[in-house]
């Protein structure tokens, strides 16, 4: 029982990342009808927002500290980050320590801008082109984005730690009445899950309970009619693209403490997220979230030793296997709408 709960928990954080990226992908597909292969790159850019912020916060000036001396008795030069000299010792260090959560604030506008630029500059011209062309041009764009990031940050993963407060693990088993040390779970993964649940909730609430969201949903159902009613649906869809980009970006920001980001992390997630979207059903928001968590949890179950001895190698292929079975038996995916790319 405790092993099962542990695997579910392990699957949740990866599942949340899949769900967030897949939500953005399917949102773009549902609104604009565009298959965006550059969405993984947006995830990666989000992660590098966090890296950039932590680098910026760590910019320092060299000050001669008269109170400390080296072994010859000369005053020592110390590096003092600007934030520390501006806000004082404790507040400054706290800001540096909290760079990843702070990056959320700066990632949202950055990702919005990237999203708008991408939609207006490129995607707009591909509404009417075949899906194959859309895949190809966004695939090219993803390569370009990756290479730009690589040119600035190099090819190696850059560790970006979580705040000290959330480092380490806690005993989840003890909290729900199991013996000690049965279910140990890192804090940050729990936070990642809660954060993604929050974002997912916000996006759904935005679409469900605001006028703007209502118009967007109407546009997803029948774009032409909404346009004929005198509503500038294109502008709203562009905003939705920006929103989808920032959701992917936020997923990336919060993922940095779990896995140090490198320039091709997006591609690794993209392939899986596409599988998630297809399993959930193209254009279905609920399906993407459901499939994201489902596949994340399945993946962690498949990597249990008991399962691996029964079916060797299953942990490597489970996601693809599920995708193949779903695609062949339920052409629409789990929760796909009728008539959306059923061919």
């Amino acid at each position: 029982m405790d092993a099962i709960i542990l695997q579910i928990l392990n699957g949740l954080d990866k599942g949340s990342a899949y769900a967030l990226i897949a939500l953005g992908l399917t949102l773009i597909f549902g609104t604009l009808g565009v298959v965006n292969f550059a969405h993984g790159a947006l995830f990666m850019i989000g992660a590098f927002c966090a890296v950039t912020l932590s680098k910026v916060l760590n910019l320092y000036s060299i000050v001669i500290d008269p109170t400390k001396t080296d072994f010859l008795g000369n005053p020592l030069k110390v590096k003092i980050p600007y934030v520390v000299s501006w806000f004082g010792e404790s507040a400054g260090m706290a800001i540096i320590n909290w760079s990843v959560p702070l990056a959320i604030i700066c990632a949202i506008p950055v990702m919005m801008l990237v999203g708008f630029a991408m939609e207006r500059g490129l995607i707009k011209h591909f509404y009417k082109r075949p899906h194959a062309d859309q895949i190809l041009v966004t695939f090219g764009l993803a390569i370009v984005m990756q290479e730009i990031i690589k040119a600035f940050y190099g090819a190696n993963p850059i560790p970006t730690p979580a705040p000290d407060l959330f480092k380490g693990s806690f005993d989840f088993g003890l909290m729900i009445g199991f013996a000690e040390n049965t279910i140990i779970y890192p804090y940050w993964r729990l936070i990642y899950f809660v954060f993604s649940a929050l974002i997912l909730g916000l996006v759904f609430a935005f679409l469900q309970f605001t006028t703007f969201g209502m118009v967007v949903r109407a546009g997803m159902a029948d774009r032409e009619t909404v346009g004929l009613l005198g509503i500038n649906i294109d502008r709203r869809f562009t905003i939705m693209f920006g929103l989808a980009a920032s959701v992917a970006g936020l997923a990336g920001v919060m993922y940095t403490p779990i896995n140090p980001p490198n320039y091709h992390m997006g591609m690794d997630f993209l392939v899986l997220s596409f599988v998630v979207v297809v399993v959930g059903g193209m254009g279905s928001l609920g399906g993407a979230v459901l499939a994201g968590f489902l596949l994340g949890v399945l993946e962690s179950f498949a990597s249990m030793n008991e399962v691996k001895t029964l079916l060797p190698g299953i942990d490597q292929i489970i996601i693809y296997l599920v995708a193949i079975v779903i695609l062949l038996t339920r052409p629409r995916g789990l929760m796909g709408r009728a008539g959306v790319m059923e061919e």
């Binding site: 011209h125 390569i143 370009v144 292929i317 062949l328 061919e343």
Partner: protein
Amino acid sequence: MFNKLDSNDRYMMIFFIIMVLAGPIILAPFGAGYPDLLQRFAIFGLFAIGFNILFGLTGYLSFGHAAFLGVGSYSAVWMFKLLTMNVIPALFLSVAVAGVFALAIGYISLRRSGIYFSILTLAFAQMSYNLAYSVLTPITNGETGLQLTLDDPRILDGANATGDIPSTNLFGLTMNSTYKAELLGMTFQFNVGFYFCAIILILGFYTALKIFRSPFGLMLRAIKTNQTRLNYTGLNSRPYTLAAFVISGMYAGMAGGLMAITDPLAGAERMQWTASGEVVLMTILGGAGTLLGPVLGAGFIKYFENIFSKINDNVLHAWFSFMPESIENLLVGVLHFFVGKGWHLTLGIVFMLVVIFMPGGLVEGGNRIYKSLRRRFGNADETQAAE
């Protein structure tokens, strides 16, 4: 070989044969005349030609063709290990095994079309890649890659006298032997392995040409144009797409076999989806659905991968040294991002530009230039550009 083709195709075929066979001479001035790169041109050209039979004719975008390449490589290396270092059995086995794989994967994947087909092929390729890395290690030798060893049985070859790992050969003609010729201060290298690949490439090109011109090829084009209408006329398109899939899979297997022939080892990274993406890039860049396009695209990408990536800041400084220093430094600073390690950036940008402005690829670009030139000079030349 030629009397069954109409005159345009005959010219194209002759042109193609001459260009390929004279490759070591033509490419030497461009710094690409060394055997390793020439072999790559031929191998990836073959791979792209095969991919084009599927994507260019039927419009089914497969993102998993590298799996067949990898399978082909593994089978060829196993043939070298178990039977003989002669290349012919290895090549046959790699084509056959890749064909069987393609039949199985194609049978399942082709039940869906569009993006679902792409995802299905991608899923199968990633599965093969992951399995090759983990569980199938006894067959694939995992991360190390499958290599030849001294104590391999090699039943037909008899005892190994020299104590070295033997090299691949065609009835005694070793693949890595090179004949060098000096002329006009340049070295021309005529490599046996390259010419073997070149002959296979020419045969592959000829087969593709025949498929393009055959009723079967027309049927595949009809599938791309309007599959629904084709179904309404009472035709079942599945056997045709499956045949195209298997053929292109066999081409990929052959390319994989040739890779193992020129360099007898096989690794799982050949099956990764980025490798599948590469052949897509090649085909689109050159021109999907055209005959010469994929070969051009493959040559273009492999050339730039090898030549562009070797240009570093020192080379750039040498190029621009005639300019004032400030401009020189500025130019080098800007170009630094596009060459050397950053050549993928150039590739991505070129690829995007091609998809946006020239969906027909380099071949379409060439045709446009040719037409505008003809209009300008009013030349009543009747010959049309290839395809």
